[in-house]
């Protein structure tokens, strides 16, 4: 115990090395820019910056990726508040109250609230990261083939059920992703499948990062390009002071705590991410508020509820990623890719003597990043707001170049760029059909895990399916799967109600949904 504490302390010292501090600032700033620009999501920011981390030390690389992640999730709120266009889907709920405050001349107050709530949401989520990650890592020994099989099924039910608007379309997207995940060598026997004529390029399956850049970013370019290029709304001037009174801070305190818990739990669930958390956080803040009449007219509690929740997801979703190798959402899926690229495997190994220092340095970096996010957010919001207005005429070529370079730089394979473009087109068609692109990415990751572990479990049991029901953890996961499948029945109601209420009470009209990936 004492040694763990000392490693945690050392982690802080390492995280405060000059290079790490500089990279934290750069990462947070880059994240906020990516986040506040409608069209660039957090997942894309992390994916595009991944190749830049190849030459960095393990801890620095992870810290940069974490910093971009946190920055981007917060950054979305700036454009949500000032131009009523959420920079990332995670800030969709922030736009409702935030833009109202801006219209009332309280843009500064709204930005401060978003920043303050994001900071606390993120910081509090680190507590669970420090506490649960090593605990769950120890428990991974209890997770064997059968348990992993159910875990991946659980993740798939969550993305199909919760993440989309319609269960049917969620299932369709997930099934498409599962089909695509069968490309490559069979995990059990090594048999080649759908490898396009013995070409070894697909031996390890589809490169998830390239697929993700295509699905999320390239498809966004196609969406933007087909529309007439119009100037974005003028960002409102921030006329008031960026601060909150002591009473106001006291009012939002319980909201932040509630949203932290919601965001953290959503984060830990595989498949559910920040975009769901912000709506749940917003709703809960409204239900518990003593000033319900302010909702729809610019409530600081609404802004805080949404922003604390989406940033609380960050620490939470790192937990299953680092311990079980099951990413909580698409951003952490790429972060996991970075982790593996740096020679670190998710699981107990991250907390053994050899790697604990790197892991805890990353954790400490994640804590420090929150402070930088607060500082940079408070000082730079006005400037970032200008960036968020960047015309599509500039944005489209820039994002295209970043997509091509980003997908090429990972392995330096031209085929990767082709895969990125193919997935860009798939993503574009899926958006047109209102399918769920995030479901494809997670199915690409979870599919092989589920398949391999089902095969392994059946090898061990000589083909008897009884092994899948042989432990307590299996049964817990089975129950969770059933809840996951049934959840749309009540979740959809809840969310629809929330969105409906939000829309009817949002006098600004519906939020531009172009960027909701």
């Amino acid at each position: 115990m004492l040694s763990t504490l000392s490693v945690m302390g050392q982690g802080f010292l390492h995280a405060m090395s000059p290079i790490n501090l500089i990279m934290m600032i750069a990462g947070v700033a880059m994240g906020i820019i990516v986040g506040c620009m409608p069209g660039l999501s957090a997942a894309m920011g992390v994916a595009l910056m991944l190749p830049l981390t190849f030459t960095m030390q393990q801890d620095t690389a992870l810290i940069v990726l974490g910093a971009i992640y946190c920055g981007a999730i917060f950054g979305g709120s700036i454009s949500a508040i000032l131009i009523h266009t959420p920079g990332t889907p995670a800030s969709a709920a922030t736009a409702i109250e935030g833009y109202q405050m801006t219209k009332r001349g309280q843009a500064g107050k709204a930005l401060f609230t978003a920043c303050y709530a994001s900071f606390w949401g993120g910081l509090l989520s680190c507590i669970s990261l420090y506490f649960f990650a090593p605990l769950l890592a120890e428990l991974t020994l209890k997770f064997q083939s059968a348990e992993y099989f159910w875990l991946s099924i659980f993740g798939l039910t969550i993305i199909a059920g919760v993440a989309g608007k319609s269960l049917l379309k969620g299932l369709m997207s997930g099934a498409l992703g599962l089909l695509l995940s069968t490309i490559g060598s069979d995990p059990g026997s090594g048999m080649p499948r759908f490898m396009l004529g013995g070409n070894s390029y697909f031996y390890d399956g589809i490169n998830v990062t390239c697929a993700l850049i295509g699905l999320f970013s390239m498809s966004q370019v196609f969406m933007l390009a087909e529309k007439k290029i119009t100037e974005r709304a003028q960002a409102s001037k921030v006329t008031d002071k960026m601060s909150l009174t002591r009473e106001e801070r006291k009012t939002i305190r319980p909201t932040i705590i509630r949203s932290w818990i919601i965001g953290n739990l959503i984060g830990i669930l595989p498949g559910a991410g920040a975009s769901i958390a912000c709506f749940l956080g917003y709703n809960t803040s409204k239900q518990f508020s003593k000033h319900k009449e302010q909702f729809g007219k610019g409530s600081i509690e609404g802004v805080a509820g949404s922003e604390a929740a989406n940033n609380a997801v960050t620490g939470g979703s790192l937990i299953p990623t680092l311990t079980l190798g099951i990413p909580g959402e698409s951003v952490t899926a790429i972060l996991m890719g970075g982790l593996i690229m740096k020679g670190l495997q998710p699981g107990r190994m991250l907390f053994n003597e050899e790697n604990a220092l790197v892991t805890y340095t990353f954790f400490a970096g994640f804590v420090l990043v929150q402070f930088f996010m607060l500082g940079i957010g408070l000082l730079g919001s006005r400037g970032f707001a200008q960036i968020s207005r960047l015309s599509d005429a500039i944005l489209i070529p820039c994002v295209t170049v970043l997509c091509v370079v980003g997908s090429y730089a990972i392995n330096k394979l031209p085929e990767d760029v082709l895969v990125m473009f193919v997935f860009g087109i798939i993503g574009y068609l899926m958006r047109k059909l209102d399918l769920n692109t995030a479901a494809i990415v997670l199915a690409l990751i979870l599919g092989p895990i589920g398949e391999k572990n089902l095969q392994n479990a059946l090898i061990i049991s000589d083909g008897s399916p009884k092994i899948l029901f042989s432990s307590v953890i299996c049964w817990v996961l089975i129950v969770l799967c059933i809840v996951g499948i049934l959840s749309p029945l009540f979740m959809n109601k809840l969310e629809k109600k929330a969105e409906k209420e939000a829309e009817t009470e949002d006098p600004n009209g519906p939020i531009e949904e172009e960027d909701l990936v």
Partner: protein, 324 residues
């Protein structure tokens, strides 16, 4: 404002482009070989992978003796075949060399993942050797030694479970070679990598498994090494018997990271690098930094022999080795 932003974005892109790395200038050299520009060293795995880490340490000290910068070029994909295809098709001018990882390299030839054969390469030297070992959980009282494991296996035919690092991957080959020689059947559970393989053992899903010596460096308390593959005991595990002395599998088994050039390079090129890397591997600073892995220099002739032997071994696995 817009101009500044556009400029900032352009700057981002330049950085991204720079991250892709530059290729080395390649020119023909006349007379006794000496590289006349940065030397490219292809590693067929991602940056941060085990081979990459040891390659970078070697490259750092070898630059002194090569007289040029050595640029590591990570070409990951297709189980290594991407990088080896690139190495085999590089110009044989001594400006591009690379690592080949035995026996994965040999498996990729047997599986026809690339267009190359062993004759597409000119081995230069061996860098790192990792010997395979048989391990069980430290607290598993059923297996105090290897004979107990074998007897249990024979008495409960087909019941022992071994986790592996993938279907027909290196540690699966090891477990199969051991079980075949000891005359018992077992169930092989293919995991994705060595980390998951050991987790399966520690989580009591598997009964035993075959890994390589460095894989257990951080878990000395939780696993017990029953035997090593080979004819001689390892200096770092002096009390552990070899399979050969116990009367089971006779040959050495493990993995080797060799350095090779594309076939067609001149004798001089091979000789030049052979000598440069030998000096680098004897450099006291290198030895100090490389203490965590087993440097095992072998000259070009011995390395060529090793590649051939491993190729014959891997090809021999096609018949009568695996359970059908």
């Amino acid at each position: 404002m817009k101009k500044i932003l556009a400029f900032a974005l352009a700057l981002c892109m330049i950085f991204a482009l720079a991250a892709c790395g530059g290729g080395a200038k390649k020119e023909e050299a006349a007379g006794p070989f000496k590289p006349n520009g940065p030397v490219t060293m292809i590693v067929a795995y991602k940056a941060g992978n085990g081979t990459d880490i040891t390659a970078r340490i070697l490259a750092k000290y070898a630059e002194k003796y090569v007289g040029q910068t050595i640029v590591i070029d990570n070409q990951d994909g297709g189980s290594g075949s991407k990088g080896w295809s690139k190495l085999s098709s590089s110009k044989p001018d001594g400006m591009t060399i690379g690592f080949i990882n035995l026996p994965n390299f040999n498996s990729s030839i047997v599986k026809k993942l690339g267009t190359y054969t062993i004759d597409s390469f000119a081995p230069i030297c061996n860098h790192v050797t990792e010997t395979s070992i048989v391990v069980v959980r430290a607290d598993d009282d059923r297996f105090p030694d290897l004979n107990a494991l074998v007897e249990y296996g024979r008495a409960h035919d087909g019941e022992l479970i071994a986790s592996t690092n993938g279907a027909q991957a290196s540690n699966h080959i090891g477990a199969q070679a051991f079980a075949n020689s000891a005359g018992f059947k077992y169930k092989a559970v293919p995991k994705g990598n060595t980390n998951e393989e050991l987790t399966s053992l520690l989580g009591k899903e598997a009964d035993f498994c075959v890994v390589k010596v460095p894989d257990i460096s951080s878990m000395a308390d939780s696993v017990k090494v029953l035997a090593v593959f080979g004819t001689e005991r390892l200096p770092e595990l002096p009390d552990v018997p070899t399979l050969s002395e116990l009367g089971f599998y006779k040959d050495w088994l493990g993995s080797s990271r060799c350095i090779a050039a594309p076939a067609g390079v001149s004798e001089e090129v091979v000789k030049f690098y052979e000598e440069a890397f030998k000096k680098a591997m004897e450099d006291p600073d290198y030895l100090a930094e490389s203490s965590s892995f087993a440097t095992d220099y072998k000259d070009a002739a011995a390395t060529t022999e090793l590649v051939k032997q491993q190729q014959a071994f891997t090809e021999g696995l096609a018949t009568g080795f695996w359970y059908d």
